[in-house]
């Protein structure tokens, strides 16, 4: 593949984001209104957090469909723990539960001897339904609201609607998570081990790279980030239902892949995922502003995902032996 091709591939998402923003701004000036930009920033919150966690799973050569179930479970459990445990206690409990869900996935994958993405897909799909049904059993199917609590949970309100200067609190949480995860992935030994695991599990294992640790880490991170996403999500809508996380797993995977992280594992970056999420959200926002029906929006999203995978495979075909 020639140089132009590489550049195109590497920066295609960025070009698409800019192009999309430009076109929309011209057709619909409302796009650049402060209200809309603020709206975009807030939408960014839950999805990017989940997608950042998902990035590690995909870079590690696996996949996680259980995040929707984790979000459901964490949302209803955390909100109901605010009264008995206090806000900080509930927050910590929620994050721990999410991490445990992830660790359980990893444990199942390790003990079952699953080594492929497809096996992981089915295991985590199964666990997603387990976590979701736990959420339904726990909540009895009901939805919890902030105004039902003994007193308004001001910390969660701040997470959902507060600002730090010009930035929303959820955006600040995202920036913090991004920085930590980026450093973890690119600067730390455990992050390198995860990339190597995704690049070639067998070779990594035979070189003494602890791939079991990598697997536990990627799923625990995904679970933790899903929990963080769940907290930001229910804080924003001040309501937690046991089906609040529906669709998050597919959107997160979509964002990671569209961002340019390869589903084959090994190569990818949380920064790419940020671009992927930006593109997905911008696309939704633009299509909304342009008055495109939600049915069409689904098709657009699907088409982008297929295009991203197609592009990724084309690169392999050209740069490598068949």
């Amino acid at each position: 593949m020639n140089k132009v091709g590489f550049i195109l591939k590497d920066y295609l998402v960025l070009l698409m984001i800019l192009g999309l923003a430009l076109v929309t701004a011209i057709i619909q000036p409302k796009f650049i209104s402060p209200a809309n930009l603020n709206n975009i920033m807030r939408q960014f919150g839950p999805l990017i957090l989940v997608a950042l966690g998902m990035t590690f799973v995909i870079v590690g050569g696996f996949i996680d469909l259980s995040v929707a179930g984790t979000i459901n479970l964490v949302a209803v459990v955390t909100i109901t723990l605010i009264d008995p445990l206090g806000q900080v206690g509930a927050l910590v409990a929620g994050l721990v539960i999410g991490s445990i869900c992830g660790a359980i996935n990893a444990g199942l994958i390790l003990t079952s001897g699953a080594t492929t993405q497809a096996e992981a897909l089915f295991i985590t799909f199964g666990m997603s339904t387990v976590y979701s049904s736990l959420a339904l059993i726990y909540s009895g199917g009901s939805t919890f609201h902030f105004w039902d609590l003994k007193e308004m949970p001001n910390m969660f309100e701040a997470i959902g609607a507060g600002s730090v200067g010009p930035l929303s609190v959820s955006f600040v949480i995202f920036l913090g998570a991004l920085a930590l995860l980026w450093i973890f992935h690119t600067k730390m030994a455990a992050g390198r081990a995860i990339s190597l695991t995704g690049g070639n599990k067998t070779a990594a294992r035979l070189s003494g790279v602890p791939i079991e640790r990598s697997i536990v880490l990627i799923y625990t991170i995904a679970g933790f980030m899903a929990a963080l996403g769940a907290i930001v999500l229910f804080s924003r809508v001040t309501t937690a239902s046991p089906v609040i996380g529906a669709g998050f797993e597919t959107n997160a995977i979509l964002a990671v892949v569209v961002g340019g992280t390869t589903l084959k594992g090994g190569k990818g970056s949380v920064l790419r995922t940020v671009m992927g999420v930006l593109l997905v959200i911008l696309l939704n926002n633009c299509l909304n502003l342009l008055g495109v029906s939600s049915y069409m929006q689904w098709a657009a999203r699907g088409a982008i995902l297929v295009f991203a995978i197609w592009l990724d495979n084309r690169k392999e075909v050209q740069g490598n032996q068949l």
Binding site: A190, L196, N200, T202, A203, L206, S207, G208
Partner: protein, 498 residues
């Protein structure tokens, strides 16, 4: 066949090809004549495989012309070349493991064959024509490498191929299987089919090639009838320098016992026990599938094997996974470079450093400057040919990739180095360097377990040889004093244990 040898079936003129950072072919010209076996030799990275992939349509050439069977070929695909009569049989065979022999031969052409009955009947005919007895309904996954090759050759014949390219076909063949292949090659030749035969093994080149082309660093160095090449001239032209011997002198500093392995029992291995001494190169000889690889994998903790005992330096050690093996001072060059050794999308540097991440980690953080040093040091000391250490390792030739894996372990400095087919698909020059490394490790008080399908290699390098047949150790020999055929008999399970 009176036209054989006169007519040019394939003409390659001034073909060039570059990859990012690597110039793989530099104006290559070769003529292949009808009914000839045309040998192509050269070190790894000489450009042989790249050229063949251009011919078959996997890569596109940058410039130059290719005329095959009177037609100029510009853009082609592997599918088109097949139909045009140009077949290529890769080192890593291209068959669908989960399908039957017959289905593989006529893959995608069942309709033309009038269904499965016709497919199997025609496949039977083709296989018979090359004297292959395998059932057409057998699954390819159950076949040996040799039989798989027969299936590939039959597939090539089914397209009425005029030219068959064989890319290092003998790599995984035993002696007997090899003579069968030679027979088939002679038969194809008699039918007027041309063969391009790529190999590292000079014996084969001198055995049955009519014309030999030597390539080096992306250039054709010479093309001559076989009879006009002497062995020394060929080697010199291949490596661009003179090589005195194919093997270094045996090291002779065998000392006390370093490792003792007792009672490996699996479905495939039966009570395998052996000792390894300091300063020793221990060869494991046996057929592919006899249990050589399984034995070392069990020792290295690569497979889930329990119940055996390993002690190193007199102390019992537990090795249940490769990490524990590494910590106990073991290193492994795995059998399959691409699948088990390399992380292809990663850089040369990252591939070299991956076993020693702990060494450039401080408080969990990678110290990139130390990693860079590790990469650079081994690239230099092993003479790895690469534009720089940041290049993706998939752009390197097989021999250089193998050296990177050696470098990966040299950084750790294992006292027991297991090498499973370390010179597979590697050229003469790089082979010699790997032999020297083995010797160095042994002379520094370490030990090497060497597995190789090339008998001369094991016999010339090892201080001691164990033969394995059907999962059992059938003999222990001193290769310096016991003739090769006695050792081979033991490896074939014909008795003769000492």
């Amino acid at each position: 066949m009176d036209t054989a040898g006169s007519e040019i079936i394939l003409s390659i003129r001034e073909v060039t090809k570059s990859f990012p950072g690597v110039r793989a072919l530099n104006g290559v010209s070769i003529d292949v004549r009808r009914g000839m076996v045309h040998g192509v030799v050269g070190e790894n990275g000489a450009g042989k495989s790249t050229l063949m992939k251009i011919l078959s349509g996997v890569y596109k050439k940058d410039t130059g012309t290719i005329v095959f069977d009177g037609k100029t070929i510009d853009h082609t695909t592997p599918y088109e070349s097949m139909h045009r009569g140009l077949a290529i049989i890769y080192q890593e065979l291209n068959l669908v493991n989960s399908m039957s022999v017959g289905e593989n031969i006529f893959l995608g052409r069942f309709k033309e064959m009038k269904g499965m009955r016709g497919t199997h009947a025609k496949a039977r005919e083709l296989l018979d024509s090359i004297g292959c007895k395998v059932s057409t309904t057998k699954l390819v996954s159950e076949l040996s490498v040799s039989t798989k090759q027969m299936v590939e050759i039959s597939k090539a014949l089914s397209f009425q191929s005029k030219l068959i390219i064989m890319d290092e076909p003998s790599t995984s063949l035993t002696g007997e299987e090899m003579s069968l292949l030679v027979k088939i090659i002679h038969q194809l030749k008699a039918q007027g089919i041309s063969i391009i035969y790529i190999s590292h093994k000079l014996e084969e080149i001198f055995d049955f090639c009519d014309v030999v082309t030597v390539m080096r660093d992306g250039n054709v160095i010479d093309t001559k009838p076989r009879g006009e090449f002497s062995r020394d001239e060929l080697i010199t032209k291949m490596v661009g320098r003179t090589i005195e011997n194919e093997y270094p002198e045996r090291s002779r500093q065998v000392g006390e016992t370093l490792m003792e392995v007792k009672g490996i029992n699996t479905r495939k291995l039966h009570d395998v026990s052996f000792t390894l001494r300091k300063g020793e190169i221990l060869g494991l000889v046996g057929l592919v599938g006899a249990g050589r690889t399984e034995t070392v994998r069990a020792v290295f903790g690569a497979d889930r094997v329990r119940g055996h005992k390993v002690s190193i330096g007199g102390k019992p050690v537990t090795i249940h996974n490769p990490k524990q093996a590494k910590d106990a001072g073991l290193g492994l060059i795995p059998e399959d470079r691409k699948l088990q050794g390399l992380v292809l999308p990663f850089s040369v540097e990252q591939n070299i450093s991956m076993a020693s991440i702990d060494r450039f980690t401080r408080f969990g953080f990678l110290i990139k400057s130390l990693e860079k040093g590790i990469g650079a040091r081994h690239v230099k000391s092993l003479g790895i040919k690469t534009p720089n250490t940041k290049v993706a390792i998939k752009n390197l030739s097989g021999g250089n990739q193998q050296k990177c894996i050696v470098g990966r372990w040299m950084e750790i400095g294992p006292s027991i180095f297991i090498m499973d087919e370390p010179t597979k698909g590697i050229d003469v020059g790089a082979k010699y360097e790997i032999y020297l490394l083995m010797k160095q490790i042994a002379e520094k008080g370490g030990a090497v377990i060497l597995i190789s399908s090339e008998l001369p290699e094991v016999l010339n390098m090892s201080n001691r040889v164990l033969t394995i047949y059907d999962g059992r150790i059938t003999g222990e020999f001193d290769p310096e004093h016991i003739p090769a055929d006695v050792i081979m008999r033991a490896a074939l399970g014909l008795g003769g244990a000492s």
